[in-house]
C-alpha cells in the first residue's frame, strides 16, 4: 500500500492576492498527518480549517507553500479514487436512492460497482432497511449516514470530513460519532476531521489541532492518548472532560473577538 501521509509546508492562502484589499485566510501552515492517524481540526469560524481540508482534497490551490499526499500532489488522490470525503451538506443526489448514492462513489470514478460492499456499508451505518429510500424521505441524520457510507465504500486511503455532523442535533451527533469511531477502528484510514465541537474532536482523534483566526494559523497541537476502541463511557470520564475544558479555553484564547 502506498503511503498516504499528508504534509503541508508553509502554506499560505490569500484571496484577491492581486487586489489592494486582499484577505489572508491561512498563513504559515505546517502540518504533517501520518499514515493511518486521525486528526481533528478545531477553531473558531473563519479560521480557515475548511480551507485546509479543501487544499488536501485538491479542490483549491494554495497561494504559496506545498501540499503533498503520499509525496505527490493532492489532486492525484482524487483522480486515483483513493479519497473519501463528506461535507456538512450531505451532498446526496436527490434523484438517487440511498443505495445508488453510495454506489455513486464507484460509478462516478468509473470503478466496478461492488454490490456486496455497498450492502455491508449500508448495514454498518444502520440503513439496510432504507436502501431504496430517496434522500427527501430520510432524516438529516440518516442522510449524513449515507454520506459517510459513500465516503467509506471505496475503501479510501484518506478520509476528509468537513463538519459532517455539524447540522445535526446533539443526540444524533453523539450517536454518529460513536458509529464513526467504531467504523474507523476497524481499519485506520488517514483522516482529517474539521469540527466546531471540541468534544467530538477529543473523542475521535489521535491529535487535535487548534487554530486561531485572522489569518488562520496553527495555535497548538495536542495528542490525545485515550486507548482505542473508545467507548461511550469515555464521554463521562473525568480526564476526557478535563481535556475538553482545556482545549475549549485554548479556543477562547485563540479568538479575541469572541
Amino acid at each position: 500500500m502506498t503511503s498516504s501521509a499528508i504534509a503541508l509546508q508553509q502554506v499560505r492562502v490569500e484571496y484577491g492576492a492581486r487586489k489592494a484589499r486582499s484577505v489572508l485566510a491561512l498563513d504559515g501552515i505546517d502540518l504533517a498527518l501520518e499514515s493511518g492517524t486521525f486528526t481533528a481540526l478545531i477553531g473558531p469560524s473563519g479560521c480557515g480549517k475548511s480551507t485546509i481540508l479543501r487544499l488536501i482534497a485538491g479542490l483549491q490551490r494554495p497561494t504559496a507553500g506545498t501540499i503533498t499526499v503520499g509525496g505527490r500532489e493532492p489532486g492525484r488522490l482524487a483522480a486515483e479514487h483513493r479519497l473519501g470525503i463528506a461535507f456538512q451538506d450531505d451532498a446526496l443526489l436527490p434523484w438517487l436512492s440511498a443505495r445508488d448514492n453510495v454506489a455513486l462513489a464507484f460509478r462516478a470514478g468509473g470503478l466496478p460497482v461492488d454490490a456486496a460492499r455497498i450492502d455491508r456499508l449500508l448495514a454498518l451505518v444502520g440503513l439496510e432497511a432504507f436502501a431504496h429510500a430517496y434522500p427527501r424521505q430520510l432524516s438529516g441524520g440518516m442522510r449524513q449516514r449515507v454520506a459517510i457510507a459513500r465516503a467509506l465504500v471505496i475503501g479510501p486511503e484518506v478520509l476528509l470530513l468537513d463538519e459532517p455532523f455539524g447540522a445535526l442535533d446533539a443526540v444524533t451527533r453523539r450517536h454518529l460519532n460513536l458509529e464513526l469511531q467504531r467504523l474507523w477502528s476497524e481499519r485506520a484510514i488517514t483522516t482529517l476531521l474539521v469540527t466546531h465541537s471540541v468534544e467530538e474532536a477529543v473523542f475521535l482523534a489521535d491529535r487535535v489541532v487548534v487554530m486561531s483566526p485572522r489569518p488562520g494559523r496553527i495555535q497548538q497541537i495536542r495528542t490525545i492518548e485515550f486507548a482505542r476502541p473508545r467507548a461511550r463511557t469515555l464521554l463521562s470520564d473525568a480526564r476526557f472532560h478535563a481535556l475538553v475544558d482545556e482545549l475549549t479555553e485554548a479556543l477562547d484564547a485563540a479568538d479575541p473577538l469572541a
Binding site: A91, P94, A108, G109, P135
Partner: protein, 250 residues
Amino acid sequence: MSARLSRALSGAAGLAVLLVLWELAGRRGWLGASWPPLSAVLAYLAAPQNRPLLLDATARTAQEAFVGYFIGSVVGSLGATCGLLVPPSAPGIDRLAATVNGVPIIAVGSLCAVTFPPAINPIVVAALGTFFVLFVAATTGFGAVANAHRELFTALGASRWTTFRRLAIPSAVPALADGLRAAAPVAVVGAIIGEWFASERGLGPLLVNAMQNYQTTLLWSAALLGAVLSAIAYALLGLVQRGAARRYRP
C-alpha cells in the same frame, strides 16, 4: 391540499367570468359587430358541416407544431450541451441563439417562407421558436448544478463525461421540463405563423381566409382551436414538469 383546491376554484372562477363577459360582449355588441358571442362560436364549431375543415386544419397545425417542437427541443438541448462540453464554443452559440431569438417571429415566418418549401415552413418556424426556449432552459439547467455536488464529483475523481452524464443532465431535468412546457405554446404559434405565409392547410390559412372574407365566426373558431391546442399541450407538459420536479429537485 385545500390550498390547491382553492387555487383551482379561483382559476375556474376567473375563466368563467371571462367566458360570460365574452358572451355578453358579443350579444350586446359592446365591441362592435366583429365580436361574436361565445355561443355562436361554439355552435359553429359543433356544426357537422364545419367539422371536417376545422378538424383537418387543427390536426395539420398540431402535427407541424409537434414535429417543429421535437426538432427545436433536440437542437436547443444539443446546442447547450455543446456549449457546456466545449466551453470555447459557448459564447458563439449563445450569441447565435440570442440573434435567432431577436428576430421577430413574424419576420422569421416571412423569411422562412421565401427560403423553405411551404410544406416545411411551419415546422421550421415552430422549431426556431422552440430551439431558443430549450437552449435557454438547458443552459440554465446545466448551470444549476449544486456546488457541493460538483466538488463531490471532483473528489471522487469523475471524468468530464461522467460528470456530465451523472450530474449535469439529471441536475438540468427540472429546468428542461420547465422549458419543454413553456415551449409548447411557442411551437403552436410558430406553426400557425409559418402556415400564414405559404400554406394551404392548417389553422394559419384558415385565419387568413376568414379574416379576408369577414367570416368572423370562423376566425374566432380557428383562434379558439389554436388556443385550445396550446392549452392542452401546456397542461400535459405540466404533468411532466411536476413529475420531474418531484423526482429531481432536492
